[in-house]
């Protein structure tokens, strides 16, 4: 391992309402692969964007090759030799490989005319250095995702990068493609490039990195040598919080089975998913973003189609339903993005509440407004929703109060099973515990509840039983004392090794 190439000291970055990075310091040496790990929202991506010139830090210093440096923008970062390989690839599909490699920095003459031959020649040599199987004239839109990633990596050659940052590079690669990527990373490393590697996948981190820095809630928890640590230590550093939030769990009194799913599969999305949920039970579904959790429940509800699988509703087998049939049966799905899928923002709380069940509120298609108002008032007080009145546009309400209206709208149809996808994402602590209370309350009343969450304390705190999902499959089920954060992390990051063994 060589000298320190890049060092950040005391970086702080705040966004309205959140401190994304709080006095962060760490360094990258030449010829090392340095992992950056942490839970969703720990600040990894923000830190990378600061390094790549996409965010300006509020405080702190970047010391690059021994001297304090200002990174003016993404192109400036690349010219200085700092390259970010985005998770969502940052390419222009209609342009050629050569044009994409040098995007924003094309060679031109004085009149802005492209020097196409020079561009092509330089791009070709960068591709050769990486051993890519395609030429500089290929249109990027015709390449596979892995090949497109190579185009981004070729920028490291083209700009002679000293620091390359990989953000979740294996998220959409197959195993073979992953091996090729690791070979490329080792090649860069051998040439003295300093590499930052961000990933959720612990086996990859222990496979390829030299040091690990752990971020939590925007703060650095520590940096350790990969060879001298183990999964347990890193996990503890990642979670390490005290459970200061108080969770209420409904009493474990279960009735008959409401829903059972068997062998539900959809090629490339999830496979052989099976579970069941009973009356009065809260079933947690944990997994990282992209594990396929939302896709599974959306399929059960009928928003998406499955390739195969069986569904049993109250013990009887049914065909995969349409959303309308699901609603009529007594199923409710509260989606993750309430702005896009859950609410009509310009309408008031009254109209939003009655929207999916206008049949209940009307006769011969004429709305029964007093009935609508009564239901609105019932849920306003039951969920203690803060709104000035039935017609205040929900866009003016806080995230927590919006979420309560989403719940109200599904509850007034009196469902038997309610599925909550990330019910507390982006809402304040007070509203969070109100929603947790409500979940317990619903289960107590005999509803079956499925809660999807990326927040481990939440999913462990409200559920009676937790399923761990990873890469489209249910990899573990925990109940009672086995429901711990360590077990969950272990399950979602380790199952690949287990499967191989």
């Amino acid at each position: 391992m060589g000298d320190v190439i890049l060092k950040v000291e005391g970086i702080t970055k705040t966004f309205p309402g959140v401190t994304a990075l709080d006095d962060v310091s760490f360094d990258i040496r030449s010829g090392e692969v340095h992992a950056l790990v942490g839970e969703n929202g720990a600040g990894k991506s923000t830190l990378m964007k600061v390094l790549a010139g996409l965010h300006k830090p509020d405080a702190g210093e970047i010391i690059y090759q021994g001297a304090p440096t200002q990174v003016a923008g993404p192109l400036d970062a690349r010219r200085k030799g700092i390259l970010l390989i985005h998770q969502e690839l940052s390419l222009s599909p209609e342009l050629s490989v050569a044009e994409n490699i040098y995007l924003g920095a094309w060679p031109t003459n004085r009149f802005g005319v492209l020097k196409k031959r020079e561009l092509r020649r330089h791009a070709a040599s960068a591709l050769d250095a990486l051993g890519c199987g395609f030429g500089p004239d290929t249109r990027v839109g015709t390449l596979s995702v892995a090949m497109q990633q190579m185009v981004e990596i070729a920028r490291a050659e083209a700009f002679n990068a000293n620091v390359v940052i990989f953000d979740e590079p294996t998220a959409s690669l197959t195993d073979t493609e992953k091996d090729q990527l690791f070979q490329t990373i080792r090649g860069l490393k051998a040439r003295g490039v300093g590499i930052v590697y961000i990933s959720h996948k612990m086996n990859e981190i222990f496979d390829i990195t030299d040091r690990i820095t752990v971020l939590r809630d925007g703060q650095v928890q520590g940096t350790v040598d990969t060879a001298e640590t183990d999964l347990n230590q890193v996990t503890r550093m990642m979670i390490g919080r005290t459970l200061d939030t108080y969770f209420i769990r409904a009493k474990a009194e279960f009735g008959a089975e409401v829903l059972r799913v068997e062998g539900l599969s959809k090629a490339g999305v999830f496979r052989d998913v099976g579970f069941s949920v009973r009356e009065g039970e809260v079933l947690g579904l944990y997994g990282l973003v992209g594990a396929g959790r939302s896709e599974v429940v959306e399929t059960v509800f009928g928003v998406r189609k499955a390739d195969s699988g069986k569904l049993y509703w109250k013990g009887g087998e049914i065909a995969l339903p349409s959303p309308r049939q699901s609603i009529d049966m007594g199923m409710a799905l509260v989606p993750e993005s309430r702005k896009e899928q859950g609410l009509v923002l310009m309408m008031g709380g009254r109209e939003n509440t009655s929207l999916p069940h206008l049949g209940l509120f009307s006769s011969v298609s004429i709305m029964n407004r007093p009935k609508e108002l009564a239901v609105f008032e019932k849920y306003r007080s039951a969920l203690s929703i803060k709104t000035t009145g039935p017609d205040q546009a929900v866009s003016q309400l806080s995230g927590g109060n919006q979420q309560k209206f989403v719940l109200a709208k599904w509850l007034c149809a009196d469902p038997k099973l309610i599925i909550l996808d990330e019910p507390t994402r982006g809402i304040d602590v007070g509203s969070k515990s109100a929603i947790h209370e409500l979940i317990a309350d619903l289960a107590q009343k005999g509803l079956a509840v499925i809660v999807i969450s990326s927040e481990m304390p939440e999913v462990l705190g409200v559920s009676h039983r937790v399923l761990a999902m990873s890469e489209g499959a249910i990899v573990a089920e925990f109940e009672g004392d086995a429901m711990t954060e360590e077990n969950l992390i272990d399950a979602v990051s380790h199952h690949r090794d287990d499967a191989a063994a």
Partner: protein, 324 residues
């Protein structure tokens, strides 16, 4: 994201087929020409072809600028109004300052309005549909204020002889259209501004992250578009000898139809002047051919509407074959 091989690579035959697949409007154009040649004896005459080219050239010059703006991922609805203003200024100012200064000021009015459109779109973050819709209404109002709601008459009719230059059947207006189209095709394919116009329209995030000055390209393209609208307005004033305050009304729609018919993508990132020339000529042939057959005006509109939808369906089908 497909693993499809690049159809432009390979043998010459394959590359011709690939070009035709991307520029299928030319196949469509050939078909319409064949149909009308068969249906009307007057269609395939030198005189009529000259007519088609001249008639098409006006929408064509507008379509060149619109193609730049649309590849950039925007739209410009104000071209018809800009055309009317430039034509009114070029004729109305001749009494005060002579022919060429008036023409120059007409051109400048286009450039200035385009710069304004582009700046408003780039800086405000408003959608160009709204900004230029405002331009369409506001500039048209300005034309009426300036012309006092009357058609302006050229003081000296030698002005109308300026475009009377022919190369065989091809008028000066048509030559200007083709020259501009070739020039801007070169700009698109060979200059940094042109290629970055694609990059911005294709994936604006990637372009921004790569350090491309997104706003500058938008302002330049809106300026080009309106300047070309002014060129079109001035050529129209030379042809007619008058400036109607209603000149160019709904031409912005015919222009967009021609560009989209050619295959340039409304969402940006894809298109070329070859496609636009094809779209412009197809539109001109259809209008001319239907008139030669004495089609009633409303039937003509119905046919044009049907053709547009058909061409877009074809485009969609070919798109799904995975060539883009």
């Amino acid at each position: 994201m497909s693993h499809a091989t690049d159809i432009r690579a390979g043998s010459p035959l394959q590359s011709v087929l690939g070009w035709l697949l991307r520029n299928h409007i030319w196949v469509f154009l050939a078909l319409t020409i064949i149909v009308f040649s068969w249906a009307s004896p007057y269609f395939l005459t030198v005189n009529n072809i000259g007519n088609i080219l001249t008639q098409g050239a006006f929408i064509g010059i507008l379509a060149i600028g619109m193609t730049m703006v649309m590849i950039n991922g925007e739209i410009d609805l104000s071209v018809g109004a800009v055309l009317a203003l430039a034509s009114a200024l070029a004729i109305g100012l001749q009494d005060h300052m002579g022919v060429w200064p008036a023409v120059f000021l007409g051109l400048m009015s286009g450039a200035a309005l385009g710069f304004l459109n582009g700046t408003l779109v780039a800086l405000s973050g408003m959608h160009s549909f709204i900004v230029t819709l405002g331009g369409l209404i506001g500039i048209r109002g300005l034309v009426f204020v300036y012309s006092g709601e009357n058609a302006l008459m050229v003081p000296d009719f030698s002005y109308t002889e300026i475009p009377e230059v022919y190369l065989g059947p091809i008028s000066l207006t048509a030559m200007i259209f083709f020259a501009l189209a070739l020039f801007f095709q070169w700009v698109l394919s060979s200059t940094r501004h042109g290629r970055e116009t694609y990059a911005v329209g294709d994936n604006i995030e990637a372009a921004h992250d790569a350090g491309i000055n997104v706003k500058r390209h938008k302002i330049i393209n809106f300026t080009i578009c309106s300047t070309l609208a002014a060129v079109c307005g001035i050529l129209l004033s030379m042809r007619l000898g008058t400036a109607e305050p209603n000149a160019g009304r709904i031409w912005e729609l015919w222009t967009i139809i021609a560009v989209v018919l050619g295959g340039t993508r409304l969402q940006g990132g894809f298109g070329s002047m070859w496609m636009t020339i094809g779209g412009v000529l197809t539109l001109a042939v259809l209008r001319n051919g239907l008139r030669l057959l004495n089609t009633p005006n409303y039937v003509e509109l119905m046919v044009m509407g049907a053709v547009l939808v058909l061409a877009l369906v074809l485009d969609k089908v070919l798109n799904h074959k995975g060539y883009t």
